[in-house]
Symmetry: C2
Subunit: 146 residues, 2 copies
């Protein structure tokens, strides 16, 4: 069962400049940064609020680290903006299987590694009214900035 | 101070079909529906979780009700997908003024009426790394479906 908006993924050309925009404009601070080599991105997680299921909602700022990453191709086509949305669940495997059974294309055969040790998969945007949709099961997390 | 992800605004061609997709695929139920004549949209709010500031996070599904609405023009250019993101605050007037002072274009001189009696304004996406960004102060709300 999907129990929260886990994050909004935002693609940008310059992660440091975008982090600085969110910090100076809204006061949002970086909770965690990492490079996901498989996804081809450098990312910053900004924690916005905690959620009633015991999790939290983040902005995930994404900068491509190689030209052939999906985010680099997306940026070249669309420019900066919202790249995907993600719902949190305690059971990404079960939910992905149930959603696949309803005829929605799930992009990974098995969930892969996401931010902060989470396990993630994506649903095809053409099956989701144009929205690239991620499902996330979080690992226990602690900010690397605190 | 912005204290939550209030909602993700998603533009669609057919509100009823999109509501049905979110219900059958994820189990998300409609919390509230309304027509906003000023914005030129018919909308459905799907409540996803409650938030640590005493508010909630929603998906806001938006269907244009006239050809000259900004959402109709956006759909004609972009197709269905994420139209904007919204942050919740207790003081949309004060936050909008502070953000305007930082050089970000605020689209309304004064906040206008948003979903469920809220007061809202928007920030220019070109000043926000491509993200059309809304600020929301909620009114006390009760679902019209409960």
């Amino acid at each position: 069962m999907l129990t929260r908006i886990d994050h909004i993924g935002i693609a940008c050309h310059d992660l440091d400049a975008t982090v600085e925009f969110y910090r100076t404009t809204y006061g949002f601070e970086v909770f965690h940064t990492e490079v996901n080599e498989e996804q081809g991105v450098r990312e910053a997680m900004l924690k916005i609020n905690e959620t009633s299921d015991g999790g939290a909602s983040y902005l995930q700022l994404l900068e491509p680290v190689r030209e052939d990453s999906t985010v680099a191709k997306w940026l070249a086509k669309n420019g900066e903006g919202v790249h995907h949305i993600a719902f949190g669940t305690a059971d990404v495997d079960g939910d992905a299987a149930a959603i696949r059974d309803k005829g929605v294309r799930v992009l990974y055969e098995e969930p892969r590694r996401g931010s902060m040790g989470s396990r993630i998969t994506f649903l095809h945007p053409k099956d989701c009214h144009g929205v690239l949709t991620e499902l996330v099961t979080s690992a226990p997390v602690e900010s690397d900035e605190h």
